[in-house]
Symmetry: C2
Subunit: 136 residues, 2 copies
DNA sequence: AAAACTGTAATAAAATTATTTACAATATAA
DNA sequence: TTATATTGTAAATAATTTTATTACAGTTTT
């Protein structure tokens, strides 16, 4: 993977869970995570697109969870932030004249996909509610 | 993770397996992977330190596998190139005054470790010999 | 109409990763 | 015993990716 976004997304979602439906501003979220509010808003775009949260504009606006925390699996959160394949190898351009080079990307991709499937299954064993509960 | 090195390391090891004990030069390896020989040599340092390969200096020198391909698991290769934790979050410095921020790194680390354990177990189901056999 | 927000884009900075260059050391072979 | 091929390693540079900042238009509420 590649993704510090996972930590940010999960952090946001835990905070929203703790807010119990109250609207929370991006500035407040940013204060807990200790990053810039614009970064939070950027991640919120994605979380909204994936149906995890809903936002309200304007004064006293903010964001809340769009579904129950027990219905959001950590695997789904992972999938919302993942970009490339797990082990990276974006710009892999081996020599096509070599029998190994010619085929390695196919075999690597198969391996990555299988591995990532297992990783997501593992994450799916836990919901946001489970994770959030660890914070007492 | 973070690691394009995994692809390079595995590619090198497959090539060495195919060479059946013949010494292979870093230049030749670099030609198949289509990267610079110095990059190959850098990765070889690590592979040597992990006991996967052995090198011979001087004219007609090169590198060969130091153990049977069936005794090198993909999980061990992964572990040789991994640096930080799986999902990245090196510079995560949340607000310690927030009850969530204060504890999130602990919980994230536990989650990452558990997840990575499963990932490595999955990779360990395959040896270098198994992977190399896919190349006919 | 003022204030407190979100939404979004553009830009900049920092960090990471990859590449190149260079050359000393070593071993073989002519 | 000299030329050559090769590893070992470091330093410098370049490219890419990630993260952060700034800015401001659009929305709601008061």
């Amino acid at each position: 993977m590649n993704n510090g976004r996972f930590a940010i997304a999960l952090h946001i979602l835990v905070l929203l869970d703790k807010a119990q439906g109250e609207l929370v501003s991006s500035e407040w979220l940013a204060g807990s995570i200790n990053i810039n509010p614009a970064m939070v808003r950027k991640e919120l775009i994605s979380l909204r697109q994936h149906g995890f949260v809903q936002s309200k504009e304007g004064k006293n606006g903010g964001t809340s969870l769009a579904k129950k925390a027990s219905d959001i699996s950590l695997g789904a959160i992972y999938e919302s932030v993942r970009q490339l394949s797990l082990l990276g190898h974006q710009k892999n351009t081996p020599n096509p004249q070599c029998p190994v080079g010619k085929n390695i990307n196919t075999h690597l991709n198969n391996l990555y996909n299988d591995t990532e499937r297992v990783l997501i299954d593992q994450l799916n064993k836990q919901s946001l509610a489970d994770f959030s509960a660890k914070f007492g």
